[in-house]
Symmetry: C2
Subunit: 573 residues, 2 copies
């Protein structure tokens, strides 16, 4: 699963498993399902047979070099959510159930979502993608290695690191300042011990000692690049543009100067092809690319979205976190670079998340509390109005839980009528597509969008940050740290000031203070640091500490994961 | 390619490309070839269709859980070589050409060899496996990620490392001595900067600082385990038995005590299945597992060999380096654990390697020198007589090069008659299977072996080392360093003294001195250190410095590797 969703599976288990009498786990449900051969899924979608690269019988890659370059004709629907509780609100599960509901309604639908990271699987119990009867399968294989994309990204990332250190070791013709190498290695393993390391020890035959670190693979800039590249040529161009560090004269050094882009692209040649799997409802699911939703744009690959739009009439896709984070980045980074038009949006809300935003503690969420719900609904209102700023009319999907009371559900329906937004309940975990029929109808009735972007990057990084902060976060002011001021100078000096921005902010608040729940306004956004991601093509603005390499808990779920003699996996969820 | 073959491709290029008038490279030849669909190869081999897991159309894995457990009926032929020049002698190329010759002769033949390591590919120009018209295809895909086995081994290796550091960080209930953790992380990248590192820096939230290092993935004990495991149950048993370090009281700590084996086996669930590809001659090729030939046993997986023997009448397999290294380990470790019987052996020799062993410098090898050849042939004699100690009659394959003169080739034929060994020339690089017809006949005529092992591990590690050293290396004495004496005590204390030994020694000499070429005897073998590999099930005896993480050269081949817009790879060879 995406690292930032670490806890959602645990929560789903504890809160939702009473919904099914047998208390089946996700992996039980997934393993009990008979999958359609992936060649059949591809054939029904209309994908040319010679473009389908099977990985076993239930997974495939779609060879982008063998697809016709027709303009996509499908309608794109973006699924986002309210500011979450630490447990997550089941956004992917709603998305998958909703798509299956569209399929049941006779529509040619498809899913396009990120692929899961393997590292967190060994930490907290849980897996991706979706849950209950709204899952993408084969879930164990999607969670374990899948088609190797993360490994390819890691291989490219670490090959580039090796080329940098080798360049310094072999004479350093480019005069790279070994203290100013910004490129980090990565690994798809939760390993806090790799966050800060010293490499190159042991004497002059073993490189130059320097301080560096590892991120989890999802946080590598190459993952972001893979998610935005339009073809192999664009991939190489972006790889060459990666800034790996600075010279002693403070000039940027690129991967292109190390002549690395050809080899890195060769390592990514298969990874760039979108993966095709299926939902439990037999809907084609393109699960591809897995960039962070924080220091990167947090959505599935542009190519997967495009291929899905080419072969389906309606495509549901997801962006990490709420309108302030994933959705904003979806419109301003991915849709901008990919020339995508979003026809509709869905904001997933849960009664417990709104009560959490209304001030309740995590332990109090299972008890009816209309006052907290009323206070917290301001958060949903803010997300809805944020989305409207991108030119699209959102539909609210209320993901219902057994603890939700009749009065609370009634309150939400009344609120929606008053606020003028379409709302439907979804019961997708327990019922799959059958639990989202009304929601599907609402979505189909609201495909009138023509989406826009929020800012013009040509106005410069500071102006872009200001627009996002004032219009979406409702900040009163923006404060740049001394480091951020220095970073801005470097950005201007090197001609990076017209790149879109990717703001890294807590998902729990519209402000940069995770405790300011609900719908705060007038706060000050603190920009601490600006990181040029010249390959991906954006500037990351850090507004808080970001953990790019998770750790393992005291009882890692790795202790419970097992495989039987017949190859059957257990303990994933 | 296997790391220890780093230079062989370069040499093949420079020495052999004059053999084909168009100076085609390996990748040119491979790309010009039309491959048979892998399902067709599997069908012809008789592998049940439901056991074939396609990875694209030209690669597959064979699902071991779906195969009948019949006793293999094929005959196994082991291909080994003389002590090599630094450029290698084309052992794999001869093996592949020879198998294609057997196929041409109407035999149901198969290849079983190691899969290549990706890291070295970015360093020295070159790829695996085989070369010219004796290759295994699709060569680019086999060389780049293949079916993800190396990545799975790295994921398991690094997950175990994370579990160890996490255990220490979370309270260290097992009382692991952080200075005595012997488990290292790995990566399939040539990166000297990772040989010696300090991890866990940055404060108490980020683990416990300690000195450690990375090896290349091929050197991970988990790669050796994957190569010896007979099924998923045996895999888990071996994983649990890995010694990861020692407590403060000097008691060994195992992966099993960390409850890691289930999760690690889950990560290796697909990797354990042998890969099926094909030779240019259409022969099924099982390319699976890639352990070092030095600190590990250096041959393809036991499962690949077994599956090959189940579906072919004659299977050619390879062991890293000569009779003193790979072949000895093949008989004494792999064949012992896997209950394999070797029916025939081939010793690959080249005139230039014998002249090198006869004292010529690398630069002089292209010039006729019968005196050097006569002196160097003692090396071949030694390898032949070593092989005979395992109960099998070797055939000599003379891999001819354009620089070989008529007089030199005639000398070899005369020598073979005099020494009483069957010899045939092979011209497999330029001619494929057609260049090994005579060799194939000789091999078929010499399948009368019933192989044995050299020593009984029950006699203890010291006795096993003595037997190998005196009977194969012809050492006069064995000297243990003070460290090796300490290690021996630990081995006895912990009940590891009855494990087979895996001697890590230079491939250039029968002694531990790489300059002592030819057929030295009476030398002293220096055992410096003994490493328990309790998961793989052997004790590594180091007799010299071993580099388990290669570096990149000043002009890495990564600079020349490229991929075109249509996905075509170039620069691999």
């Amino acid at each position: 699963m995406a690292p930032e969703k670490l806890c959602s599976a645990t929560a789903r288990l504890s809160t939702l498993k009473t919904m099914v009498s047998q208390a089946l786990t996700d992996v039980d449900i997934a393993q009990a399902h008979t999958l359609e051969p992936i060649t059949g899924i591809a054939r029904r979608a209309g994908i040319p047979a010679d473009a389908v690269i099977p990985y076993g019988t239930t997974k495939a890659k779609v060879d982008i070099t063998r697809l016709p370059r027709d303009a996509p004709t499908g309608k794109l629907v973006l699924v986002t959510g309210v500011s979450p509780t630490p447990a997550g609100e089941g956004k992917s599960t709603v998305l998958i159930g909703l798509t299956d509901a569209l399929t049941r309604a006779g529509k040619k639908a498809a899913v396009a979502i990120r692929e899961p990271s393997q590292g967190p699987l060994m930490g907290m119990k849980g897996g991706a993608a979706g849950g209950g009867y709204s899952q993408i399968v084969p879930m164990e294989e999607i969670n374990l290695h899948f088609t190797g994309d993360f490994h390819a990204v890691a291989a490219a990332t670490n090959t580039l690191a090796a080329l940098i250190d080798n360049h310094i070791h072999q004479g350093n013709a480019l005069n790279i300042d070994s203290r100013r190498v910004t490129w980090q290695r990565c690994m798809d393993v939760n390993d806090r011990s790799l966050r800060e390391v010293v490499t190159g020890l042991g004497g002059s035959a073993h490189g130059v000692p320097r301080e560096t670190g590892f991120t989890i693979t999802a946080a590598s800039e190459i993952m972001a690049i893979l998610g935005l590249a339009t073809d192999l040529t664009d991939l190489k161009r972006r790889l060459a543009a990666i800034t790996v560090g600075f010279t002693r004269e403070r000039k940027p050094v690129t991967a292109g100067q190390l002549q690395a882009e050809g080899a890195l692209a060769a390592l990514l040649k298969e990874a760039i092809n979108p993966n095709l799997v299926q939902t439990l409802g037999g809907t084609p699911a393109f699960v591809h690319g897995g960039p962070f939703a924080n220091i990167a744009h947090g959505c599935n690959s542009l190519l997967a979205t495009r291929v899905a739009l080419q072969y389906a009439d309606i495509v549901l896709t997801e962006a990490g976190f709420g309108s302030d984070l994933g959705a904003e980045k979806f419109f301003d980074i991915k849709a901008r670079y990919g020339d995508l038009d979003v026809a509709g949006t869905v904001v997933v809300a849960t009664i417990r998340s709104l009560k959490f935003n209304g001030g309740l503690a995590k332990e109090e969420l299972a008890t009816e509390n209309l006052a907290a719900l009323k206070a917290g609904v301001a958060n949903l209102e803010r997300h809805v109005s944020n989305i409207q700023q991108f030119g699209v009319t959102p539909v609210v999907a209320l993901n219902v839980f057994t603890a939700d009371t009749t009065a609370e559900r009634e309150f939400m329906r009344t609120w929606a009528r008053g606020f003028g937004v379409a709302l439907a309940e979804a019961e997708v975990w327990a019922k799959g597509g059958a639990g989202a029929a009304e929601l599907a109808e609402l979505v189909l009735g609201n495909l009138r969008g023509r989406s826009t972007q929020l800012y013009d990057p040509a106005d410069g990084v500071e102006a872009s940050i200001r627009t996002i902060a004032t219009r979406l976060y409702r900040a009163g002011d923006i404060e740049y740290s001394p480091q951020a001021h220095k970073d801005l100078a470097v950005i201007r000096e090197n001609g990076w000031d017209r790149l879109p921005v990717c703001i890294s902010k807590t998902q729990y608040s519209f402000s940069d203070d995770p405790r300011a729940l609900g719908a705060p306004s007038g706060h000050t956004l603190h920009v601490r640091e600006l990181l040029p991601r010249t390959g991906a093509g954006f500037i990351v603005a850090l507004t808080g500490a970001v953990m790019t390499m998770p750790g393992l808990p005291s009882r890692p779920s790795a202790e419970r994961i097992d495989v039987a003699a017949d190859g059957r996996i257990s303990g994933l969820f």
